[in-house]
Amino acid sequence: MPTLENIKDVWKKQEDCKYNFSKQEIFEMMHLKSSSAVKWILIISILEFILPNIFLLFFDYQGTVDFYNKYELTGIMGVYFVIHFIIILFFIYIFYTNYRRISAEQSVKELMENILRTRKTVKYYIYYNIAIAGVIGVHIFYKVFQSEIFLEQLPENTNMTLIWVMALLMFGFVLFLFWLVYRLIYGFLLRKLKLNYRELEKTE
């Protein structure tokens, strides 16, 4: 029966593992594809970079342009687009530099920190997307609700506050759903890593 006093002796009795691999087997193994978690983090992160903006590609372009013209939004939307594009490039750059830092040769803690930092970039990117969607959304609501074209369609004595509240609630709910889906993926990817990191950091 091993005890704390004799475990080192027991341990040293270990001989070669019964599944020792030959040179040929090792050679074959080293050229196989990795299925590491980092690879998944990369794939999912790239999807997350693309997905919040992918719907832009499928929008009815002419319809959108007409809509913007109708409510005098063309200029400001152009500005938003340029800013958004620059910020996306900035995020991708930061993500890429962080990703490159990940290496299996680092200390256990350093590697965990680098993986967490890489994921954090994506987290902030998602938050940024929710924020910018919120800002643009409210801006569009504001312009539309102020315009004559819109107001003409409303029955008299319409309570504008109620329209605002409903529009914001619905819009907020959509953004909340987006955030929720993201949090689930985030939790799923990093739960174990975070637990281990906390365990390593703990110093009481």
Partner: protein
Amino acid sequence: MYRLYFLNFVTNRLFLLLINKSTKGVTKDLEKKFVSDLEKHQNIIHKVCRTYTINEAAHKDLFQEITIQLWKAYPKFRGESKFSTWMYRVAFNTAISLYRKSKKNVDTGPIYDNLKELEYQDYNDEKDKQIDMLYKAIHKLNDIEKALALLYLEDKSYKEISKTLGISEINARVKMNRTKIKLKKILNP
């Protein structure tokens, strides 16, 4: 339609740019040296695999992933540290953070079902039985404690342990003591 083509092109390029760790310039000699180094020191990886997995299939799976990670990092290995130290680091990183466990093969959590462990072959020899019991006890530790236990059993210095894990020597000592107490409780309940 052209938008889709464009999107496809951009994502493909990005993907290639990010994941393509090309092995250009890596000669056959390096491959040979790696294979022979690894074959010589494979016992280290087997110990890590047996610590972090509970059956043969998972053991082999993890060994494979560690081999891939070692080979990926090998061109950067400058021999500043001992080959075995470097191997430990990559092996622990793979087992703790990089390896994507398939649920049916591996359970590294602290809550552990003893029945699953029967999948490892039964040993008749008294010595093998003792070693098996020791591994079973180690399996009840969490991922970080497993690494500490293994480094302790391998007689590593606190300096080396602190470097491998990336924590201070004091913290390593504190954690080691706690791990030993836990292990003692598991071995002699």
